[in-house]
Structure formats: C-alpha cells, structure tokens
Symmetry: C2
Subunit: 411 residues, 2 copies
C-alpha cells in the first residue's frame, strides 16, 4: 500500500492566500474577531470548504464547521479537526490558520482517495481564539464545550465598544445552530509550536501530551517616595527595589528548579518614575505556568509566602490581584501515541511536549478525547510577522494529521 | 552680654507670606523661573530688602542682591548669605525661601542692633535653582561663579519654548550688572535638610561639611521578546530580569557597604510591557551619589563591570548613557566649625553631615569659602506641599546663621 499524502501545493497556496486577507494600511495582518477582515477570511475558508463538497454549518457563536458525512456514518460522532482563523494585530500567517486549512486538506485528501471512514470527519474554525478584541480568548471553543453560555458570550463588549453578537450578525456569521450541536468523538488540533523547542532540538513533530496551567497575577507594592540623594539606604522603603527582588526571586526559582515551570514578569511600572525619587509604587504582572496543577499551586503559594516575607523585611505593603487562572489540561494518551506512531512510520522524529500557550484544544478536551500536533516555529517567534515554519515542516505536520485522522475515523 | 536673636515673628510671617505667592488654580505653589509668579515672589522679596534699608542690585542673569554696606567697610569683600525663591511644581514653602528670608532677617537684626561689621553683608536670591523650566538647575549661582557664560544661560529655551533672557526682560529682572560683580569673602546657605536624618536623630542643627557628587546614567538593556508560556527558562534573553538584577545589585552593594554611598533606580520601563511576553527591552535610570569623588568613581566602575558581566551571562546587550555628573564639594572647614561652635553656645545639638541634594552653595564654593546649615525636615519630605519644619527649628537655624554671620563679618 502506498502511503497517502496531502496536496502540499494546495495547502501552502491556501495558507498564503488566507494570509493576504485582512492587511491594514500599513500592510499588517489584522483579522480581529467579528471585523470586516474576519468576514473576508471566513468567506474564503467557507468557499474552500464548499469547493471540497462538505456541508457548512455555523453555530450561534459563529464557529464554522465543514462536515464530511457519508450515508454509512451519518449517525456516528465525528472526528473533529480544527483551530481558528482570527489573528492578533500584526500577526503571522500560520497561527491557527494552519490547523484549520490542514484539517480541510486532510478531509479533501481522504475524500479524493476514496477512503470510507467509519465516522464523519469535520473541520472547525472557532470564533475569537485570540481574544484581542473580545475577552476571554478561546471564546468560541469555550462556548462550544459548554464552558460559557452563548448569550453571555454574544453580549461581550469589544475594546472598540462593539458588541460581539451584533458584529457577528453584521458580517453574516451569527448562525442558528446551538454551539453544542456536534459532539465530537475525538479532536485533533495541528498548530505551530510558537516556541523554540522543536527547532532547537531539530525535531519536526511535537506530540503534545498536555497544556500548561496558567496563573496571572498583578502585584502592587507600595513604599514611600523620598529624595534619592538625602535618604540613607537604611531608611528607604523602596517599592521599585522590592519589585526587582520579586523578579529575581521568580527567575532564580524557576531557572534552578528541574521542572517545566516558567515564570515571567512582562509588565512593570514605577511611580512617580523620576530619576531622583525613590519609587513609592511598583506595579507588575506575574505569569506562572506549569503542566502540573499541584506544582502550579505550590509555585503560587511559594510566591505568596515570599511576598509576605518581603513586605515585612522592606517595610512595604503588597497587594495581589488575580487576573486569570486556568488549570493544566492533560491530552488523550491514545491520540498522543497515534501521533508518535504516525511519525515513526513516516520516518520523522517526534517529541512529547507541553503546550505553553493556550489553544482551542484545551476547551474541547472538556468534552472529548483531544490532543495537538506541533510543528517547529523558527526562533520560536509567533504573534509577529516574522512567524515562520518551513514548508517541509508544514507538509510533514499535515501528513501526520492525515494519518492520525484516518486511524481515528476508521474506528 | 545678652545674646542677639532674630525677630522670629517677622521671619515666620514673611515665609508664610512668600509661600502664598504663586498659587495656581488648584492651590498648588508654583513659581517657575522667569514666570509671572516668579516676578510676584521677587517683587515681595525686593520690597522687604528695601524696607530693611539695603541696596538692591540685580545682575544680568536675574540674581537679586540686597547689600548692607557702611562707609567703613565698603571696600571689603562681603559675607554673602542666600539661596533661591523659585520652586518646583506643587512645592512646599521652605525650600530656598527659608535661606533667602533668613539671610535678610540676619542682616536686619544686626543692623537694628547697631552692629558694626568689618565687611559688608549681603543676601542673594539666585535665579532658577530648581531647573524645572530651564536646565541646568542651580543656573543663577553657576553663572555667578563663572561656570556658565551669561549669554549662554540667557539663551536657554524652557520646557514651554520661552527663552530665559526674554522672560527675565518681560518680568523686569534682566539686570545690567555683570553676574561676577560681587566676589564674596565667604558664603553661608541656610536650608531645610530635605532628608530624614536630623529629625530621626533628634538633632536641630546640621553642620554641612560636604555635598555629594552625583552620577546619573540611563541604562538600556536589549534582550529578545518571546512567548511567556512557550519559552523555557534556559532559552530566555529577558531584558526585564536583567534590569531587576541591576536594581538588586546596586541596592545590596550600597546597603551593605559601610559608606554614605546611595544608589537609586527611580525610572523603569519594559517593552513591549505585555503580561505574556518576555521583555525585549528594559530602560532605567541609576542615580549614584557619594561625598567622595574617588569612591563615586569606584562605584561607577563597579557598576560598569557588573553590566559587562551581566550582558555576557544573560545574553543581552547593554548600553549606558551619561545624563549628569557633578563632583562632590567639600565645604570650608572653618565655617563648619563656626556652625558647631554657635550651636554649642546656644545649647543646640549639631551634627556634621553631607548634603545629598544639590544647592547653590556648591557653585559658590568654586569662588569663596562656603558652607551650609541644615534644619530638620519632617519625615524628610520636600518638593511637596507636605514639606514642613517646626517653627522652633526654623528660628534656631536662623539664629545660628546670625551668630556665624556676625563672627565672619567681624574679621
């Protein structure tokens, strides 16, 4: 038996075409959820789904489904492939789109080859994964998985004041189906890694076995503003210095622990922010991630204890605001093993790994066995026009998705 | 012999009156150099100088002198007392004004008591000490001491676009005398401490023996922006973390050294300043001060070496921009001892100390023996409406200035 493969030219061509839709006046790729450019991107994807002979369904939150059903399998729960096509501001062309277009590509390939699946196979493009215009992110898949009432999601007010439900109506993507209409038998999402691990290790396929839990906090330290020249070191209550202590504490702890914990302080501001005034206030964010919920809780507790100790030692007051918290997600071991097996058969190295970013798959994992496949991101760059994955890796990843889908759909 | 003392009611009343001149619509005290409110403050001071029967002279940079000369001492170099009456935005009422009004008070007291000085005694109000509208600060005394050509100073463009020379003309304080007209025999400046040392130690009089050297630098660290979730700790080039390392390094070094070195990081900013992005750039300021030039140079060199080491260890690039650099000033030992002696005689505790802030005295020290007298600042607060010194301390300080002046003027 010859190994079936996807049509590389068609997949790469569509990725490139979709990547040209939604350029702003400065040439930046911007397709925010519910916008005119989102509509243009959706229209292109729907046209490709129709041209593949699939049935198109749009649910109330605007999730698009392209379903390949046969008379023999119409009553079975489908294998669902997918991701999203909305983007950040000044995006690359791969994030999300690669998963949606590869899902469609896999279905077209199987269909054209005369493959007779035991289950329907469907591709999904979920609404508002990026969360740039409407919070929370991963909204479409969250609603789909029953984690957020559709009415509440539709009532969300965007950063520009526009209501999501009205925007979906306006662009013609407020569907009539309940978001829960299709309960998948399994879900597989192919995605660029958005991190440097696969490229640096020279491994083309990531078999994503879990997704990190995320803890976001905003920390405010209050000290006392004073003259930088006249206040002895021993009499200072320096909020900026205390904030710096937290940054180095988190870094040293995460760096020296032999665990996958990552800790990041991305935002920082001092007040009054004057060269000759000791900072009275420092505000910063802490982003903690770990694939293990118990360890994530431990890291949160260790930080809280450190802050208490620091407040006493530096005579500052510290307040903490929780901004977001997601538990880690463990993907389906069976699907992960299928990814590894498919890679072996195609002579491709694979690596079990953790997703550091959030993805639609983490929502779908609530209702169906799910997993992800990663391909390398050059220099780990994403959410940036420099986002890039070599064509050979894109094609390899889609072929692994093809093999995994064929196996899953045969059962 | 009864000890002569200043007229407390007159001094405190004038301080209060001057403090009401130049309130803005929000009630904030703002008398920026060359402004209408500066004119109003100057007019009040000149009126008080005239009412004391002194000769008023204004030089080309707008410095105001009130001179008490007698037929017997007219050829001698004068004892000069003084400070400034311009303010920061939202200022307290003591900074600068206390020194000018006390200088006038001392002269009036000596004159009224029939004291016959061997030298003229003069009070000066120097232009633009604060440097808020026009840079550099301490401009009037710098020009007076020959450190900046008067033409260059007059051509300075303010933050609001107005030229200092034109503004002085406009408010009637562009004098005709060359700034160097009066070469003082000695200079004494009475000032609030603007720091917490005297208050915390319960000492009413500071005998200021030197003034810290100041080194201001802006440091920019460039790393690499990357996803906070997908970039392992070992693969990060985190500019924010590197900046935090510098903050804690400076603090630990200054805190643990048994020296008067102070180090402050007052300004800090991260880019892109997003919660889930590793900072690609951190920009911050370093304010280093030390009364000893050799030690200040050592601290600068130690920081430079640390930055080099840090750049290599963290794979970041670091650039340093020098913003300001003043050498330390050593005041005249003889005058400092007179301050101590006068305090002893009045039964007041005194403490030799270093000025952490810059003052006009540091400029005058270039051309004449100079020193300063400090009185306590509650909580060390200054440049703030909460700036406060108890009346008893204000009166005590002015009496010490009286005694020191009488001794200096007798020689």
């Amino acid at each position: 038996m010859t190994t079936l493969s996807i049509n590389a030219e068609r997949l790469l061509g569509r990725l490139c075409d979709l990547g040209q839709i939604g350029r702003d006046g400065d040439g930046r790729l911007v397709r925010l959820a519910g916008s005119d450019s989102d509509k243009a991107g959706r229209d292109a994807v729907v046209a490709w789904i129709r041209s593949a002979g699939l049935e198109v369904t749009v649910d109330r939150i605007g999730n698009i489904f392209g379903i390949w059903r046969t008379a023999d399998n119409a009553d079975e729960a489908p294998i669902l492939l997918g991701s999203h096509i909305d983007t950040v501001i000044d995006a690359g062309i791969y994030d999300g789109c690669y998963g949606v277009l590869s899902g469609l590509e896999v279905i077209e390939t199987l269909k054209a080859a005369g493959y007779a699946p035991a289950r329907p196979v469907a591709v999904a493009a979920f609404t508002n994964e990026e969360g740039v215009r409407y919070a929370p992110d991963m909204m479409g898949s969250l609603v789909y998985a029953g984690g957020l009432p559709v009415e509440e999601a539709l009532a969300t007010v965007g950063t520009d004041g526009a209501i999501l439900g009205a925007e979906l109506e306006r662009i013609g993507y407020a569907g009539s189906e309940e978001p829960s209409l299709i309960r998948p038998h399994a879900y597989v999402e192919l995605h660029i890694e958005q991190g440097p691990v696969l490229e640096r290790e020279g491994v083309p396929i990531g078999a994503v076995e879990n997704l990190q839990g995320i803890s976001w906090q905003r920390i405010t330290i209050k000290g006392e503003a004073n003259h930088a020249g006249t206040t002895p070191m021993s009499m200072r209550r320096d909020a900026g210095h205390a904030a710096a202590r937290v940054v180095t504490f988190l870094r040293d702890r995460a760096r020296n622990a032999n665990t996958p914990t990552v800790a990041t302080v991305g935002c920082m501001s001092f007040e009054p922010n004057a060269i000759n005034v000791i900072p009275s206030r420092a505000t910063f964010t802490v982003d903690l991630r770990d694939p293990d919920e118990q360890r994530l809780q431990t890291e949160e507790a260790v930080l809280a204890a450190y802050l208490e100790e620091l407040a006493a030692a530096e005579e500052v007051t510290i307040s903490v605001e929780r901004l977001a918290r997601f538990k880690p997600v463990t993907f389906d071991r069976g699907i992960v093993e299928l990814v590894e097996e498919a890679s072996r058969k195609r002579g491709l190295a694979s690596k079990r790994m953790t997703s550091g970013a959030g993805h639609d798959a983490q929502m779908i994992a609530r209702i169906a066995p799910s997993a992800m496949i990663f391909v390398p991101s050059l220099d780990g760059i994403s959410h940036n026009p420099r986002e890039h994955t070599p064509d050979a890796d894109l094609v390899a990843g889609a072929n692994i998705l093809l093999d995994v889908t064929a196996t899953l759909a045969a059962r």
